[in-house]
C-alpha cells in the first residue's frame, strides 16, 4: 500500500525542488559614513556607465561602518534601488545592522570571503582566554585558491569559470569558448575565444596570452571586442590590464631582446 501522504505530494504537478546554485555578486565596500557620503563613489561610477549596473545584484560590505544608528541602512538600500541596483544582502555587518538587513529582506551573509574576517568587531575576549588560537590576534592570509589548470583545448561553446582564483590554460582556446576568472587568466596557446578576468571586481587582474586572437577581453567589467583591438597586436604574445579606466594591451617582449634594442 502506498503512503497516502506521499501520493498526495506526488500527485499533480512536479513538487518544488531545492538545489544549490552559485552566483557572482558585486560587493560594495561602504565607507565610514562619518567621513564621506557612503554612496558618492557609486554615483560617480554610475555616471560613467549608466546602464552597466542596471538591475545588478549587490552585497553591501559594512566592515568600515560602525554598528550604530548614525548609519541608516534602509535609506542607503533605498538609494541604491533608485540608482538601479538590486541589493540582496550585507556582509560584515554588526548585529544591529544585520537585524535591520533581515527586516529589509536582505540576507546577512557570513563573512567567508576571508581576509575580511571581523576581528575588530568581535569584542574578542577569546583572544585572551584562548591561547590555543593565537592566530586570531593576527589572522592568517586566506587560503589561496589554487589556480584552475586546463590542459585540454577549450572548444567553442564551452565556458570555464575559475572561482576565487586564477585560470591557467596550456592549450588553445577556440573561438566561441569563454574563460572567466576572479583572478588572472593565463593562456599558453592561442586565445581565440573570450577571456574575462577579475569578474569579481578585482581591477588588478590581468590576462596573459601567448597568441592573441580573442573575440573579447575584459578585466573587472571593462572590455574590448576584437574590432577594437589593434591589428598589430593580433597573433602576438600580450598582457592585458587595467590602467585607471583604460584597458591596456601590451605586447610581451623578450626582456633580453629589449635590452639589446637599447
Amino acid at each position: 500500500m502506498q503512503n497516502t501522504e506521499t501520493r498526495a505530494a506526488a500527485g499533480g504537478s512536479a513538487p518544488a525542488k531545492l538545489r544549490g546554485g552559485t552566483f557572482t555578486l558585486m560587493v560594495l565596500d561602504v565607507p565610514d559614513p562619518r567621513r564621506a557620503d557612503p554612496l558618492s563613489g557609486v554615483e560617480a561610477k554610475l555616471r560613467q556607465a549608466p546602464s552597466f549596473f542596471e538591475d545588478a545584484p549587490l552585497v553591501l560590505d559594512l566592515q568600515a561602518v560602525p554598528d550604530t544608528d548614525r548609519f541608516d541602512l534602509s535609506e542607503t538600500v533605498e538609494r541604491l534601488r533608485t540608482l538601479g541596483f538590486v541589493p540582496v544582502g550585507v556582509q560584515n555587518a554588526g548585529d544591529g545592522h544585520a537585524a535591520t538587513a533581515l527586516n529589509l529582506g536582505l540576507c546577512p551573509f557570513p563573512a567567508w570571503r576571508s581576509g575580511r574576517q571581523r576581528p575588530s568587531r568581535d569584542p574578542g575576549p577569546k583572544t585572551e582566554t584562548e591561547p590555543k588560537r593565537p592566530e586570531r590576534e593576527n589572522p592568517p592570509p586566506p587560503p589561496a585558491q589554487p589556480a584552475k589548470l586546463l590542459s585540454q583545448p577549450v572548444r567553442s561553446g564551452k565556458r570555464v569559470y575559475a572561482r576565487g582564483g586564477d585560470l591557467v590554460a596550456v592549450a588553445p582556446i577556440s573561438a566561441g569558448a569563454e574563460l572567466i576568472a576572479d583572478g588572472h587568466i593565463h593562456v599558453y596557446g592561442a586565445l581565440r575565444g573570450r577571456a574575462l578576468a577579475g569578474v569579481g571586481g578585482d581591477e588588478s587582474a590581468r590576462i596573459f596570452c601567448q597568441k592573441l586572437d580573442a573575440e573579447l577581453v575584459s578585466i573587472a567589467g571593462a572590455y574590448r571586442v576584437r574590432e577594437d583591438i589593434d591589428e598589430s597586436l593580433i597573433g602576438q604574445p600580450v598582457q592585458i590590464y587595467l590602467q585607471g579606466e583604460d584597458l591596456i594591451i601590451d605586447p610581451l617582449r623578450d626582456p633580453t631582446a629589449s635590452t639589446r634594442r637599447r
Binding site: 561553446g157 565556458r159 566561441g176 573575440e215 573579447l216 571586442v225 576584437r226 574590432e227
Partner: protein
C-alpha cells in the same frame, strides 16, 4: 505592421543561415528596416556569415534573460543601412530559449523594425519550434533531394500545429518555398529532383530558386550576404526572391538551360 519571418527547413546544411542573411540584406537594401535574429543557440554562425563577429558583446540570450538591453545586443551592419543583426550565444544551448522571453524581445523588435527574420536551427525540436513560434510567414529552405524535401514536409506540419497562429486558431502562417543549391547539370542527369517534383510533394508556392554556385561559399567566407554580390547568379536569384516576397511579379531565372554556343559555354564555365 511589422512581419516576423522564419527561415526554416528541418534538415541541416541546406542554406538557412545563408538565406536568412541574404534575405534580410535584400529587404534592407530595398529600404525596409530589418533585423535578422540567430536562433541557433550554441552553434552561432549568423554573425560570421554577416561579417560582424568581431563586434559581438551581448546576445539574444542575454536579452531574453534580462542581462542586457536590446539596444546593447543589436549589431548594426556597416554596409547596408536599415540592417541589424541580433547574434546568439555560443556558450548556452537551446534550453535557454523560452516563449515568454522570446515573445517580449520580438514585441520590442516589432516596434523598431519592418521585418524580423528569424534564422532557425535545424531539427524539429525545441530550438526550431521556438524560432517559428511567433512567425507570420515562413520561408522553407529546401534542397532538390528527397531527404531535404521530406524534412521540409515535416517542418511544414510543425508550422501548422505548433506555431502561435496555429495554437490560437488565427490565420495560418504563410508558407513559401525557397529551393537552394539547385544544380541544373545534376537535375538534367537525374541525380536531383526537378522543381516540379519538389513543388508536387510540398505544394506550397515557390518563392525562388537559388542555383548552386561557388559565389555562395565565397560570400560566406567573406562575411558578406550573397545578395550583395550582384554579379553572381545566387545574388541575383536572392534579389528576385525578395522582390517576389514584397509582391513584385518577377519571372524565375537560372532554372533552364540557356541555349548557348561553344563560346557561351566556355564563358559560363570561366565566370
Amino acid at each position: 505592421m511589422s512581419k516576423i519571418i522564419v527561415m526554416t527547413s528541418g534538415k541541416g546544411g541546406v542554406g538557412k543561415t545563408t538565406s536568412a542573411a541574404a534575405f534580410a540584406a535584400g529587404l534592407a537594401q530595398r529600404g525596409h528596416k530589418t533585423v535578422v535574429v540567430d536562433f541557433d543557440v550554441g552553434l552561432r554562425n549568423l554573425d560570421l556569415v554577416m561579417g560582424c563577429e568581431r563586434r559581438v558583446v551581448f546576445d539574444f540570450i542575454n536579452v531574453i534573460h534580462g542581462e542586457a538591453k536590446l539596444s546593447q545586443a543589436l549589431v548594426k551592419d556597416k554596409r547596408i543601412d536599415n540592417l541589424f543583426i541580433l547574434p546568439t550565444s555560443q556558450t548556452r544551448d537551446k534550453d535557454a530559449l523560452n516563449t515568454k522571453g522570446i515573445g517580449e524581445a520580438l514585441e520590442r523588435l516589432r516596434e523598431q523594425f519592418d521585418y524580423i527574420v528569424c534564422d532557425s536551427p535545424a531539427g524539429i525540436e525545441h530550438g526550431a519550434v521556438m524560432a517559428l513560434y511567433y512567425a507570420d510567414e515562413a520561408i522553407v529552405v529546401t534542397n532538390p533531394e528527397v531527404s531535404s524535401v521530406r524534412d521540409s514536409d515535416r517542418i511544414l506540419g510543425v508550422l501548422q500545429s505548433k506555431s502561435k497562429r496555429a495554437e490560437e486558431g488565427a490565420d495560418p502562417v504563410k508558407e513559401h518555398l525557397l529551393l537552394t543549391r539547385y544544380d541544373l547539370d545534376r537535375v538534367e542527369r537525374g541525380e536531383m529532383l526537378a522543381i516540379d517534383d519538389v513543388l508536387e510533394i510540398l505544394s506550397i508556392p515557390l518563392l525562388g530558386v537559388i542555383p548552386e554556385d561557388q559565389a555562395v561559399l565565397r560570400a560566406s567566407n567573406l562575411g558578406q550576404p550573397v545578395v550583395m554580390d550582384n554579379e553572381s547568379q545566387p545574388g541575383q536569384a536572392y534579389g528576385d526572391a525578395v522582390g517576389r516576397f514584397l509582391g513584385e511579379d518577377i519571372p524565375h531565372r537560372f532554372i533552364k538551360r540557356e541555349k548557348k554556343g561553344l563560346f557561351g559555354r566556355m564563358f559560363r564555365r570561366s565566370a
